[in-house]
């Protein structure tokens, strides 16, 4: 793997390439010199061969001469002598050639010179022999002597030549051997050269190939990114623009144009062309901010109103910041995004809020109507009934008195209902503000408020350490007042009512109405009493509006109290539940979310 990394590394690769080139250069030069040597040795061999040939030729000429002479001596025919001058000329040429061939070799030069001397001597003998032979009655002994001399010299020359030739042959052998070696050597060099070249070629090709692949991949990815970006722009409904500060040219993306409701690149990318779509005051402000930013290189963000060709009004936010491009030029890049939807939603929200407020006000006036205008006639009814009962009571029959009592009871019930109804509407009113509420001080207030009731029933109310929560104080007050009043109302007749209000740790996650209550996220407060209690199966029913359990008239109630409690707790994102047992009392658990 290290090798691969090295292979990939550009630096190393370049060094390797450099080394390879040097090595190839070296081998090439070696090869060249070897070739040169080869060439030389070939030449030497050729020279040597040629020399040998010439020498042989010379000997053959001498042989020819001897043959001519003999033939003449035998036949006395002049015809055999006719070519001897030609051969003489030939010898001259031979020697000059030999001289040329052996010019480089001083030993050879000496040998050839001595050979030339011998030749000259021989030819002198030839001439002499001929002269003697031409005499009619030639001295046979003299002729024999000359012939013998001549033969002796010829042999001597032959020896000399063969010696020379041998020397040459030896030289040639050595030369041949080295020639062979040189040849082999050159072949190896050549082979190495080829292999190395091939290797380098392969590696380079490989490397280039992979580089090209990577480039291609990067290119493809870039194309893809570009494509997705363009798509993303379309989907996310934004366009972008670029300003090159150096060249002062703008580029707008395709979606930039689409945002303005025109075809992409349908006009030249200049601020002037865009300004045609903008509200004039927005344009002035935007340009001012933009030009300022070109000095300070600070990012900008402006909201501009655009009117599209089809008449639509759009709210577009333009955000731009500065960076440098690959050439190091300062560039401002920006994004245009369409805020029209959010803007419209905002307006809608505000409208909704106003509507809500109007509804709230109507609710408030409804409240007032109920609490004053409806209670008035009711009170009158109750007053007149009590008057009647007092004044005309004696005249009434038992039945009559009973009727009156029932009327009175019904009227009283109606009154309680109205009061509770007013309370209920107060709790469902929205838009109340949450403040940090210290529950302990709130309960202190409540106990003062209910002091008379508590004293009446001789009840004992204990309050533990309660947390401080973010709540709507008057609603929480109502909540506890209702619960405590209930506990007082539904107390056992002959037992001192004991009411306890305390915070409780949620040791195990509790599930209340399908929601998880944990110590981490919720406060738990319990309001428990030792009152008459009720059957657990009605635990959910009691929180329902107008539901009552106790039909015994001894326990008066409107059925709204606990419904109000539930609404209040829900307003605070909490839960309320109850555990009860007939004759044992009830324990209400209230959960408030921790946090905020």
């Amino acid at each position: 793997m290290k090798f691969l990394r090295l292979y990939k590394n550009d630096q190393v690769f370049k060094i390797a390439l450099g080394i390879a080139i040097i090595v190839i250069g070296y081998i090439a030069s070696v090869f060249y010199s070897k070739m040169q040597k080869l060439d030389d040795s070939v030449e030497l061999i050729a020279t040597s061969n040629q020399t040998q040939l010439e020498l042989e030729k010379l000997l053959s000429i001498i042989s020819n001469y001897e043959t001519y002479l003999r033939s003449y001596i035998i036949t006395k025919d002049e015809a055999y002598l006719k070519n001897r001058f030609l051969d003489r000329g030939e010898i001259e040429r031979n020697f000059s050639r030999l001289n040329k061939l052996t010019a480089h070799n001083p030993i050879m030069v000496r040998d050839i010179d001595s050979l030339k001397v011998m030749f000259d001597t021989r030819f002198a003998i030839f001439r002499e022999t001929l002269t003697v032979a031409r005499i009619k009655n030639a001295d046979k002994q003299a002729l024999n002597d000359l012939l013998l001399k001549g033969t002796y010299l010829t042999n001597k020359m032959r020896e000399h030549v063969y010696r020379t030739i041998n020397d040459e042959a030896k030289k040639l052998k050595v030369l041949n051997e080295s020639h062979q070696f040189e040849l082999k050597d050159s072949m190896i060099s050549a082979f190495l050269l080829v292999i190395l070249s091939l290797l380098i070629l392969l590696l380079s090709f490989n490397r280039m190939n992979s580089d090209i692949n990577e480039l291609q991949k990067a290119n493809d990815e870039l194309k893809f990114l570009n494509h997705s970006f363009n798509n993303a722009e379309k989907v996310a409904n934004f366009g972008h623009w670029k300003l090159n500060l150096k060249t002062n040219t703008y580029i707008f993306s395709d979606n930039f144009y689409r945002l303005l409701g025109v075809e992409p690149q349908s006009f030249e990318a200049t601020p002037e062309n865009v300004s045609k779509f903008m509200h004039s005051e927005d344009f002035d402000y935007a340009m001012k901010v933009h030009l300022e930013s070109l000095q300070t290189l600070e990012p900008t963000s402006v909201m501009i109103r655009y009117t599209l060709p089809n008449g639509d009004l759009k709210y577009i936010n333009s955000v731009g910041s500065f960076m440098q491009n690959s050439k190091g030029e300062q560039v401002k890049v920006g994004v245009h995004y369409d805020l029209t939807e959010q803007y419209k939603k905002n307006i809608e929200l505000e409208d909704n809020n106003r509507e809500l407020q109007a509804i709230n006000e109507e609710l408030e006036s409804f409240n007032n109507i109920v609490s004053h205008d409806l209670q008035e006639p009711l009170r009158k009814i109750q007053m007149f009934i009590s008057r009647l009962e007092e004044k005309e009571g004696s005249v009434l029959s038992e039945q009559g008195k009973d009727y009156f009592a029932k009327i009175r009871a019904a009227a009283n019930r109606m009154q309680s209902l109205m009061i509770d109804l007013v309370n209920y509407t107060r709790t469902i009113k929205g838009g109340r503000t949450f403040v940090k509420t210290n529950l302990n001080s709130l309960l202190e207030q409540i106990l003062h408020e209910l002091a008379l009731n508590i004293e009446d029933k001789n009840a004992q109310v204990t309050v533990g350490n309660l947390p401080t929560i973010k709540a709507i104080p008057f609603q929480i007050e109502q909540l506890f007042i209702n619960l405590i009043t209930n506990s007082l109302k539904y107390s056992k007749e002959d037992v001192q009512p004991k009411i306890k209000i305390a915070a409780q740790k949620i040791t195990e996650t509790e599930i209340v109405h399908g929601k998880e209550m944990t110590e981490k996220r919720h406060h738990k407060i319990i309001v428990s009493d030792n009152g008459i209690g009720f059957r657990q199966e009605y635990a959910d029913k009691i929180f329902v509006l107008f539901q009552r359990l106790e039909t015994d008239s001894k326990y008066s109630g409107t059925g709204l109290g606990l419904a109000i409690c539930k609404k209040i707790v829900e307003n605070h994102n909490g839960c309320i539940a109850v555990k009860s047992k007939p004759g044992k009392g009830s324990e209400f658990s209230i959960y408030f979310p921790k946090n905020n």
Binding site: Q445, L447, H448, E449, A451, L452
Partner: protein, 187 residues
């Protein structure tokens, strides 16, 4: 510049009484609370003058013996509630009969016959009055006030407070504060 006044009515009245008597050159001796011994014979005319100038200050000379006693009982109770730093540990009945030198039964009877309320009720009213005063003065906490007035707890005080006035101490305080604010605004 706004000033808040705390006043001792009883002392003020005493001073006024003395000043007035001196103005009319009546020789007198201050006896017990609500009792003066005139050292000289005084004409009906002069007596009427003195009465008139005292009436202007809300000071009345009682001419009925029984009213005098009633007044003495009231004064004794007021003194008990206001002037002591802490209410006496002995029972009220004991304290009053000791102070006024009558049996408690007699005192109670006379009182309810003439004032149409019981002594207990009167005492409660006075205590609540003092509580109101202390709340307005803002120097003590509710706990301290309940202790001073010999209530077993703050709850007891607020319960009685609500019973008598129909308001909780905090509501009461709120109203006082708002009234003060209003008065400030007017100025």
């Amino acid at each position: 510049m706004k000033l808040y006044i705390k006043y001792d009515g009883i002392m003020a009245c005493r001073v006024i009484l003395q000043e007035q008597l001196e103005k009319h050159e009546v020789k007198y001796q201050l006896l017990d609370l609500g009792e003066i011994e005139i050292d000289e014979e005084i004409t009906e005319e002069r007596f009427a003058e003195v009465q008139e100038s005292l009436n202007r200050y809300g000071i009345f000379i009682l001419n009925n013996q029984k009213s005098q006693l009633i007044q003495r009982i009231k004064d004794a109770i007021v003194e008990m509630v206001y002037e002591r730093d802490k209410l006496p540990s002995t029972t009220i009945s004991h304290y009053l009969s000791e102070k006024l030198n009558f049996s408690y039964g007699y005192i109670a009877n006379i009182f309810s016959e003439y004032t149409f309320t019981s002594i207990e009720n009167f005492i409660i009213i006075q205590k609540i009055e003092r509580a109101k005063k202390l709340i307005v003065e803002e120097e003590l906490t509710l706990t301290e006030i309940s202790y001073k007035l010999n209530y077993s707890s703050v709850a007891h005080l607020s319960s009685q407070f609500k019973k008598v006035t129909g308001l909780t101490p905090s509501m009461f305080k709120r109203i006082i504060d708002k009234r003060r604010l209003l008065v400030n605004q007017v100025d």
